[in-house]
Amino acid sequence: MRVRIFYSKGIPLKFTGALDLQAIWQRSLRRAGLSVELSQGFHPQPKIQLPFPLPLGFTGENEIIDIWFSQDFTLDEIRKKLETSVPDGIEIQSLEPIEGQKRSIASSATFADFNVFMDSSVVNCSDLKHSLDLLLLRQSIIRERNNKQYDLRPLIISAEIIDEAQDHCHLELRLSAHPSTTGRPDEVMKELGVDLANCEIERLCVQFDE
């Protein structure tokens, strides 16, 4: 029985990376007493999948985990048991059964939406807006990540400052999320010259083709 759970990853788990989050889910499921299918192989692992890893330092809404339960549980039962067994920082949002689909969705992501909030006492909103306009005018933005050069520009689908409030500045980003060409909001912020310590980055959702 495959179930897709949408959840949020909040501030208490902001500094837990994707691999550690996998272990947190495995243990949460064990605490909940919800039995999960095991993978084949020499070291069988519980069959769960976090298709779109969220980088360390970000919070996320509508995060997805797919779980292959080895017994039939009702969605209500799963929700109830998980609500008390997940650590602070995970909130279950909704659940849906996935039927008749074998394929993983990890490779079918298309784009992802992000919110970036900055403290306007350290980041000047109008300056940022100006830098952003210039950035979007460029044909290519060659950057280096993990010792590899790549072009950031085509990965930015849209970027807009939508709020210049008194105390903060709010940037909305839509970035490519194709498995081979994933845009990272922290790379955009670095290109804009904003220190990550001044940014709160939240991933709103990942779009994918079913």
């Binding site: 902001k14 064990r30 605490r31 650590p87 602070d88």
Partner: protein
């Protein structure tokens, strides 16, 4: 000092630039976070190494659980920050804070350090400094917390005596409540901090170093250790619990990977074997076994409350637990129901039978560790760990036949009277084990040998022995390596200077407080980390304090010499230890306590009968 809310905001922003930031956030599953204002006494439990290492410390978990059970007290955790985090805190004038309520360490009533080994000393100083607490006991004011330390290293408290207000000698489960009661009562009466520390010494097992004066001659020989506060009370007798309390079952589950994150259930405390090099075996007497029913229940509850996939059954000598077979049988069955792996550390060669191995049939076979300690039957007699070569080889055969492929062997060099030929026999024995590997596994087994240098620890029979000089240790190492060349056997050898340093710290006296502080000021920290330990810093510190470290370890001691830890009693009397030292030289064995009492002194010191205490739990 910044308010709490500032620390939250600050961390939320800045941790992104720190390695493994999950170390500094808290919020683990099963964490206990109480309302700060709802209790009378607040205790910070500090482990002087990073989160990843300290997280699994059982002593800390026991105290955390015990204190937080009280409605009038809370316990929160503190670990040493990694240098990048330390720099961040220092750059922003932020104090070392607790993980639960994120309060400055200085805001607690008591700051308790657990110090299992000596190489953590400089980290204790660093943490005090980061907490903005004066390093030395005599420099602290009424606003500072009471600084307490406990753990195995504190059986020689003297090196840290200038920095710790009160030491707990022995086990903490009961004494922690007595400390809380006393501090709570006196605080409510407005008693001054200094006086509260004085009164703590009325609790059995608490050592307040400022109450003692130590007289030395010019050569550093101790002439007298005297309690100037209460002349009647010259000895501090360690504490132990007659009956092991219920084990912890609500272990914290970390949000990041840590070293050994798993359920640990202690099945037995103490060891009846009496190996002459082993400090733990002496200071944790008498042996106390936990009821198998209680263990099974604890394993089940812990696995359910944590979701951990692995359980470790802990003791100094697991295979000596009297009901090990029925216990393993049941843990095995439970492990299938609840889907967890379990491991048994500290198995003894002579008591780990093929039978017992069969209980572990079908389990994933990881490493198997055996500790013959010495290569010859004679040396094993002298250290009172009499294993015959035949037993050893039979066990190795069994291990390989049962499907284990990775065998780890622990040895030591530096035993009294050991020759280079004795040491070379370590290589011969390993080659013999390798022949068994070739015979049974066609050489597919992997053998890993670790050779340590004997550290003559306080409270053991070898406390009168010397630590071996560098030249001869290295000569032995070369000889062993030479013989094992091209054998495919992997050999580990710890750094001599690091072992020497550990020996000095563990055997030191009060004068070492100056050395430790000087070394810390010169930049020493994380001394237990190979990459951080810099012996030249310590050499400089010893020099500037005018102390020859060799004098602590390279000198024969007479039986009437006053040892720096003379006033700290483990319950084992000095005469027994010294007899053991002499018997070692004569290759005389001392029987296991279960086969009859050899009068170590623990029974009369506490008016107990070991055999009754053993199974009382």
């Amino acid at each position: 000092m910044p308010q709490r809310i500032d620390i939250d905001k600050f961390l939320d922003r800045h941790l992104i630039n720190i390695q493994k930031p999950g170390r500094y956030t808290g919020g683990e599953y099963n964490q206990i976070k109480k309302d700060w204002t709802s209790v009378d006494i607040r205790i910070a439990l500090a482990f002087p190494d990073i989160y990843d290492i300290g997280f699994s410390n059982l002593g800390l978990a026991i105290l955390y659980d015990a204190i937080n059970r009280r409605s009038d007290a809370l316990a929160e955790r503190l670990y040493a920050p990694w240098p990048d985090m330390e720099a961040l805190l220092r750059d922003h004038y932020l104090p070392l804070y607790s993980l639960e309520n994120r309060r400055s360490a200085r805001a607690f009533d008591i700051l308790g350090f657990t110090i299992p080994y000596e190489t953590l000393y400089t980290n204790v100083l660093n943490m005090l400094d980061l907490a903005d607490i004066p390093l030395r006991s005599n420099q602290r004011s009424n606003d500072d917390p009471i600084i307490i330390a406990g753990g195995h290293a504190c059986f020689n408290p003297e090196p840290m005596s200038a920095f710790i207000d009160a030491f707990v000698i022995g086990e903490g489960e009961e004494v922690i409540y007595e400390i809380i009661d006393l501090v709570k009562a006196e605080k409510s009466l407005g008693v001054e901090r200094n006086e509260i520390i004085d009164h703590l010494s009325q609790i059995d097992g608490i050592y307040v170093p400022k109450h003692y004066s130590v007289k030395m001659d010019e050569s550093g020989m101790i002439k007298e250790i005297r309690n100037t506060y209460d002349p009647e009370k010259s000895m501090i007798k360690k504490r132990f619990v007659r009956k092991l309390p219920n084990p912890v079952t609500k272990f914290l589950v970390p949000n990041i990977r840590t070293v050994q994150d798993r359920v640990v259930v202690e099945i037995m405390r103490g060891c009846s074997r009496g190996c002459r090099f082993c400090q733990a075996g002496m200071i944790t007497r008498p042996v106390r076994e936990r009821d198998p029913e209680m263990i099974i229940q604890a394993v089940e509850e812990s696995v359910k409350s944590t979701g951990y996939e692995e359980v470790s059954l802990l003791s100094l000598s697991t295979s000596d637990y009297s009901q090990i077979k029925p216990l393993l049988n049941r843990v095995n069955a439970l492990s299938k129901d609840l889907a967890f792996e379990f491991s048994l550390p500290s198995l003894r060669i002579e008591s780990f039978s093929g039978d017992l191995m069969r209980e572990m049939e079908g389990k994933r076979k990881g490493n198997f560790t055996l500790a013959p300690e010495a290569a010859t039957e004679n040396t094993r007699q002298s250290i009172n760990k009499p294993i015959s070569d035949e037993d050893l080889f039979t066990t190795v055969e069994d291990i390989f036949r049962m499907g284990w492929r990775n065998l780890k062997l622990y040895f030591m060099v530096g035993f009294p009277g050991e020759t280079i030929q004795d040491a070379e026999r370590i290589a011969d024995l390993c080659l013999e084990v390798n022949r068994i590997n070739k015979h049974i596994l066609k050489g597919r087994g992997k053998i890993h040998v670790s050779v340590n240098t004997l550290i003559p620890k306080p409270h053991t029979a070898f406390q009168w022995s010397i630590f071996e000089q560098k030249d001869s240790v290295l000569e032995k190492y070369q000889a062993i390596l030479e013989k094992l060349k091209r054998s495919g056997i992997k050999v580990d050898w710890p750094d001599y200077d690091a072992a020497f340093f550990e020996a000095v710290l563990s055997r030191g006296d009060r004068r070492l407080s100056d050395v430790i502080e000087t070394a810390w000021k010169l930049g020493a920290k994380f001394d237990s980390w190979h990459d951080f330990f810099e012996y030249p810093i310590w050499e400089k510190a010893f020099q500037s304090c005018g102390i020859d470290p060799g004098n602590y370890v390279f000198r024969d001691r007479k039986d009437d010499e006053i040892l720096p830890w003379e006033h700290i009693s483990s319950g084992v009397i000095k005469k027994y230890s010294y007899d053991e030292f002499l018997r070692s030289e004569m290759l005389q064995l001392t029987r296991d306590c279960r086969d009859g009492c050899s009068n170590c002194g623990i029974q009369s010191a506490y008016a107990i009968v070991c055999n009754d205490v053993r199974t009382a739990g």
